[in-house]
Every structure is written in structure tokens, then in C-alpha cells.
């Protein structure tokens, strides 16, 4: 039984969950009085971002922070343990949520039942923060389910036939994935008798390697579905383009990243099983890196194409997991932050493009460059960021990953070791991914913005003339997107704080002694 009072500073760990949960619940109760919902949700989001920032600063300065609830000591009580990885991702998630809330303010006068949207968004943020900060695997399962319920609500919002179709596919596959995760939890509990992450790290070497390997394989499958890695990615382009653009941005920016974070975290907890799965991880990363941008090149629906670019980014993160050293893991962590911000911004820009052109298919778009230079510059900037062109944010994590790949494979430096074919293949796939992403993105840009008008489409729906933005769309829509793009640009031009945080995160993921010590458990040998 825990007797000592909990330190005030430890509350920082659970405030990012408590604040949006309470805010979301309050907004749901007050759903009949929907006047200031968006403003309240924005205030809560801002508070969460500030708390996450303070938490990150503290964690980078003094190491992981842990808080155990219910006066039961770990491994029995539920621990919330934040290290630099979790805090960094939680901060990025809060920033994305804040921007999306500001973006949706442009529709607040039109939407009749806008009351549920801010509440659902806050509940989604609570689930995402909880997943990033929890130190208990069963608790992680609960946050996954909370995220699922909130995202179901967001997806079917408005009840358009298209959104219902997408929601059916999204819901069934994601429910299956969380059930697979639960299966892995059952086996893990049977083998180790614990579900506390720090305790799992200490207990795993004592268990049968065969059982641990099957648990790790089940976890990798479940989180692979959540993250939309290659063989199990078909649900994402089938569903993420169906809701409103703001919801696409929220889901695309946050949910797949939660899946890939869970993959990173659990595989780092089970290093022996990770090594066992190494060939599979390399194959998944290489296939995702190459096939996703190829699919984006063949796609004409704008937001479906962005979905494929998102999947390509997941490949980069999985490549980082396949190279578990200081450089590779730091690259994966920084890439997740970059992808959260950039993919959300790209979905939001796509929403504005769809508003101006009145179409969702790039075959019916064109000539937007003359009408809206700002939008076209924003789109180009984000495409360059995703492809990883040098001055932009996407370049730095790719550089870390390439350095890791070159050092591991023996392609660079003193090549006394034999060539590591896996790492060499990953390095080549990373470079190929950058090229293919640039081709796909440039193709989208030239179709939407650069050419004079839509191509001669034999369909029965002629392209509508370009719509002008209303004042609210200009202020809230463009303003939100521009400020997010500004953050991305600044983080790309001064990447050092982010890279340093990424290095700290990689160090805490690779050496879990400080993480285990923070929960109060005995350090593993």
C-alpha cells in the first residue's frame, strides 16, 4: 500500500487526460446549449498543450515521471509513466487538436448540431494523451477503446452515406485489431503475471521465448493494423477520406501515430522478441515505404492520395523500429512528430481545396494557382516536407534514419564488417520513398494548382466554378492552416530542440533503467 502523498509535480502526468475528459463530459452534458462549445474546447486544448509542454520540459530535464493511482503500488496499481517519447507525442497531439478546433470554427454558424463535435474531439484527445502517457498495457487497451468510440462518433457525424460506408470498414477492422491486442494481453498476463510496462521489461527474460515471441507477433499485428502498415493498410484509404476534412486531419494526424507509438513502445519492452521479429519488421517497412507512394501516384481522389502518403510515412517509422540504435530510434520519434503535424496540415489544406473547387477528385480540379496563391504555396510546402526535401521538417528525421541505415549496413564509413543486407535495403527504400512521394505530391500539386483547368472529364458532373472563401473561412480556415504550416516551417528551420528531444526520447526507449526506476520497481539486472 502506498502511504506517501503524491507529489504535486506528478499530477502533470495525468492532467493531459483529466482535463479533456472532464471538458468533454461537461460539453456532452451541456449539448443543448451549444453556443460556446468550440471556445471552451479550445481553452481546454490550450491548457492540455501547456501542461504537455511543461511535462516534456520536466521529463527531458530530470528523466521519466511516474504516478500510481489508487494507493496500490506497481505492478498492481495502474501507473501513468511519462518519458520523453510519450510527452513529446502528447504535446504534438494537443497542438494538432488545437489547430483542428480552430479550423472547424469556420463552420460553426452553419452546422446545426455542432455541439457534439468539440466534445468528441476532446474525448479523442483524452484517449490519445492517455495512450501516450500510460505505463500499463491494459490501461493502454482502455485508451485504445476510448479513442475508437470517439473516432466512431466523429466519423459518422452528419450521417452522410459516404461517411457511413467508410465508418463500417473502419469500425470492423479496428474493433478486430483491439480484440487481437486483448488476446496478446491475455497471453502476456498468463506468461508473466503482470501488465505493468516497467514490470514486463523486467519479467520478460524469465519467460519462455516462444510464448514471448508469439505475444510480440500478436502485438505487432494488432498495432500494425492500427498504424496501417503495408499488408494490413487497406482500411485507411477506404475510410479516412469519407468524413469532413477536419475529422480526416484529426484521425490521420493522431490515430495511426498512436498505433505506431504502441508498436515502438511494446517492441522496446520485449527486446528479445523484437530481434526475433527483425526480418518481418524490415520486410513490412520496406514494402510500406515503396508501395504506399506508388499507390498515391495512381490515386485521383485527393484525400485518398494523402492517406497513401500517410501510410508511406508509417513505413519510415517502422524502418526506425527495425534499426533500434540511438540514431534510428531518434529518427523514428522525430518522424512521428513531423508526420502528426504535416499530415494534419495537409488534410486541412485538402479540405480548403475541396471547398474552393467543389470537387474531391483531382481530375475535376485545376487552375487554383491563379485563384489562391497562398493555398498553393502551403500545399507545395507540405508536400516538400513529407517528401523530406532539405530545409523542411521532414528532412531531419529522414536524415537521422538514413545515417542509422548507412552506419548499420556498412555502406558508409569504415566498411570492415560484411554488408548488412537488411539495413542496406531499408536505406535504399527510404531514398526511393522520398523520390516516389515527391513524384506523387508534385503530380497532385500540378493537377490541382498548376494546370489551367480540369481535364475533359467524360462524367456527367461538370466541374463547378471556383468558389470564393467566406470571411469566416478566410480567418479561421486559412488562419489555422497557415499557423500550423508556420510551426512546421519554424521547426524545420530550427530543428535542434526537436532533434535533442528526439535523442532524449530514443535514449529513454533504448535504456529503460530510468523508466523502471521512476515507477518504483526494482531495476532489472
Amino acid at each position: 500500500m502506498q502511504q506517501a502523498p503524491i507529489l504535486l509535480a506528478a499530477w502533470l502526468v495525468i492532467l493531459p487526460v483529466i482535463l479533456p475528459l472532464l471538458g468533454g463530459a461537461a460539453l456532452l452534458m451541456a449539448r443543448r446549449h451549444g453556443r460556446f462549445h468550440l471556445a471552451i474546447a479550445g481553452t481546454v486544448g490550450l491548457a492540455v498543450a501547456i501542461v504537455d509542454g511543461a511535462l516534456l520540459w520536466r521529463v527531458v530535464a530530470t528523466g521519466p515521471v511516474s504516478m500510481t493511482m489508487g494507493r496500490w503500488l506497481p505492478p498492481f496499481g495502474i501507473s501513468f509513466t511519462a518519458d520523453a517519447t510519450g510527452a513529446l507525442f502528447a504535446l504534438a497531439g494537443a497542438v494538432v487538436t488545437l489547430v483542428v478546433l480552430a479550423y472547424t470554427a469556420m463552420d460553426v454558424e452553419e452546422s446545426r448540431d455542432g455541439g457534439a463535435f468539440p466534445a468528441m474531439t476532446l474525448l479523442l484527445l483524452a484517449g490519445v494523451s492517455g495512450a501516450f502517457l500510460t505505463g500499463d498495457l491494459f490501461n493502454l487497451y482502455v485508451w485504445f477503446e476510448l479513442i475508437l468510440i470517439a473516432s466512431f462518433g466523429l466519423l459518422v457525424f452528419g450521417g452522410a452515406p459516404l461517411a457511413l460506408d467508410g465508418a463500417v470498414k473502419y469500425a470492423v477492422i479496428n474493433f478486430t485489431a483491439t480484440t487481437l491486442f486483448l488476446t496478446a494481453l491475455g497471453l502476456l498476463y498468463g506468461a508473466l503475471g503482470t501488465l505493468n510496462m516497467a514490470d514486463i521489461f523486467g519479467a520478460a527474460p524469465r519467460a519462455s521465448p516462444a510464448i514471448m515471441a508469439s505475444v510480440a507477433a500478436l502485438l505487432a499485428t494488432a498495432f500494425g493494423i492500427k498504424a496501417a502498415a503495408f499488408p494490413v493498410n487497406a482500411w485507411l484509404p477506404a475510410s479516412y477520406h469519407t468524413p469532413a476534412a477536419a475529422v480526416s486531419a484529426l484521425l490521420g494526424g493522431l490515430l495511426t501515430k498512436v498505433g505506431v507509438y504502441a508498436l515502438l513502445r511494446t517492441l522496446m519492452l520485449l527486446p528479445a522478441s523484437r530481434d526475433f521479429l527483425h526480418p518481418v519488421i524490415i520486410a513490412v517497412a520496406a514494402a510500406t515505404l515503396v508501395l504506399a507512394p506508388l499507390a498515391a501516384t495512381a490515386e485521383t481522389n485527393l484525400r485518398r492520395a494523402i492517406g497513401y502518403l500517410l501510410i508511406g510515412g508509417i513505413g519510415s517509422v517502422v524502418a526506425g523500429i527495425a534499426m533500434p540504435d540511438a540514431l534510428g530510434t531518434a529518427g523514428a520519434v522525430v518522424y512521428v512528430v513531423h508526420a502528426m503535424l504535416t499530415i494534419s496540415a495537409l488534410y486541412l489544406v485538402a479540405g480548403l481545396v475541396e471547398r474552393r473547387t467543389g470537387a474531391t477528385d483531382t481530375r475535376r480540379m485545376g487552375g487554383l494557382y491563379a485563384a489562391s496563391p497562398t493555398l498553393s504555396v502551403l500545399f507545395l510546402l507540405l508536400i516538400a516536407g513529407i517528401a523530406g526535401l532539405p530545409p523542411f521538417l521532414g528532412f531531419w528525421p529522414k536524415l537521422l534514419l538514413l545515417e542509422a541505415g548507412a552506419a548499420r549496413s556498412g555502406l558508409a564509413g569504415t566498411a570492415t564488417r560484411p554488408l548488412d543486407l537488411g539495413a542496406a535495403g531499408l536505406t535504399i527504400c527510404l531514398l526511393l520513398n522520398a523520390l516516389l512521394t515527391l513524384i506523387a505530391g508534385a503530380r497532385l500539386w500540378s493537377h490541382i494548382f498548376w494546370r489551367a483547368g480540369p481535364e475533359d472529364d467524360p462524367s456527367e458532373h461538370p466541374a463547378r466554378p471556383l468558389q470564393a472563401f467566406a470571411a469566416r473561412e478566410k480567418w479561421f480556415g486559412m488562419g489555422a492552416v497557415t499557423s500550423l504550416a508556420g510551426i512546421i516551417l519554424l521547426a524545420g528551420l530550427w530543428p535542434n530542440p526537436l532533434i535533442e528531444a528526439g535523442r532524449a526520447a530514443a535514449a529513454s526507449l533504448l535504456d529503460l533503467r530510468a523508466y523502471v526506476a521512476a515507477t518504483g520497481l526494482a531495476a532489472p539486472p
Binding site: 450521417g159 452515406p161 463500417v168 488476446t183
Partner: protein, 124 residues
């Protein structure tokens, strides 16, 4: 007894996979329900099956671990049942709405979000 329960959980999962491979949305949902129950059984078996010995400590505090029921899997299963029930209810409503709106229970017929590509042109 553990072996029998393990086989039972396996049968549940096998039936669930069979139903999930169906094209009919309703059968898939029933498969998900069975899958959830199979996994709950698995967690119950994983946490030691015993005869009826309640997990209550006697006043002197000492109790042989092997002879007592393990309360933690039951807590885990209860949580999973509640969450699974909520999600399954939502999925049922979603399936009904999808059937009303799209007029299809067959997932092959739900092509609104992913329209099949246009046929290749035959001329030049």
C-alpha cells in the same frame, strides 16, 4: 480443466474467424462478438482456474497463492466486456444505418467510398 477451457476458447475463435470471413455485415458482427468472448475465456484461463476459493485474505494475512482464485483476470474481463458491449452496440446501430442508407448488407456491394475504377478505354 485448463486444457478443456483452452480448447473451448480455441473453438470460439475458430467460429469467430469463420464468421468474420463472411461477406455479410451481420455475420461479421456476430463473429466479432464471438471473438471477444473467446478472448475473455482465454484471459480467464491465463489467470489460473481453481475450485471455488474466494480471494479473501484471512485475518492473519497468509494464504497459499495456488489455492485461491485470482481476482485480476475477472477485473480485466469485466472491463473488456463492458467496453466490448458498448462498441458492439454502436456497431449494430451502424450496421442498421448502413443497411438503410446504402441498401446493402453485403460488403462487396458497399462501394461508395471506394468506387471501382472506370473500365479501360477500348478505342484509341
Amino acid at each position: 480443466m485448463d486444457t478443456m477451457f483452452a480448447i473451448l476458447a480455441g473453438l470460439f475463435v475458430a467460429a469467430a474467424v469463420f464468421l468474420l470471413l463472411s461477406r455479410s455485415l451481420l455475420r461479421m458482427l456476430l463473429g466479432l462478438l464471438l471473438l471477444g468472448n473467446g478472448v475473455n475465456l482465454l484471459i480467464l484461463v491465463a489467470g489460473r482456474l481453481t475450485r471455488i476459493v474466494p480471494p479473501i485474505l484471512p485475518p492473519d494475512g497468509a494464504l497459499a497463492a495456488a489455492a485461491t482464485a485470482n481476482p485480476l483476470p475477472q477485473a480485466l474481463i469485466l472491463t473488456a466486456i463492458v467496453i466490448g458491449f458498448a462498441l458492439f452496440t454502436f456497431l449494430l446501430v451502424l450496421a442498421v444505418r448502413a443497411y438503410e442508407t446504402l441498401g446493402a448488407d453485403d460488403t462487396d456491394a458497399m462501394r461508395l467510398a471506394e468506387p471501382p475504377p472506370p473500365p479501360p478505354s477500348l478505342g484509341y
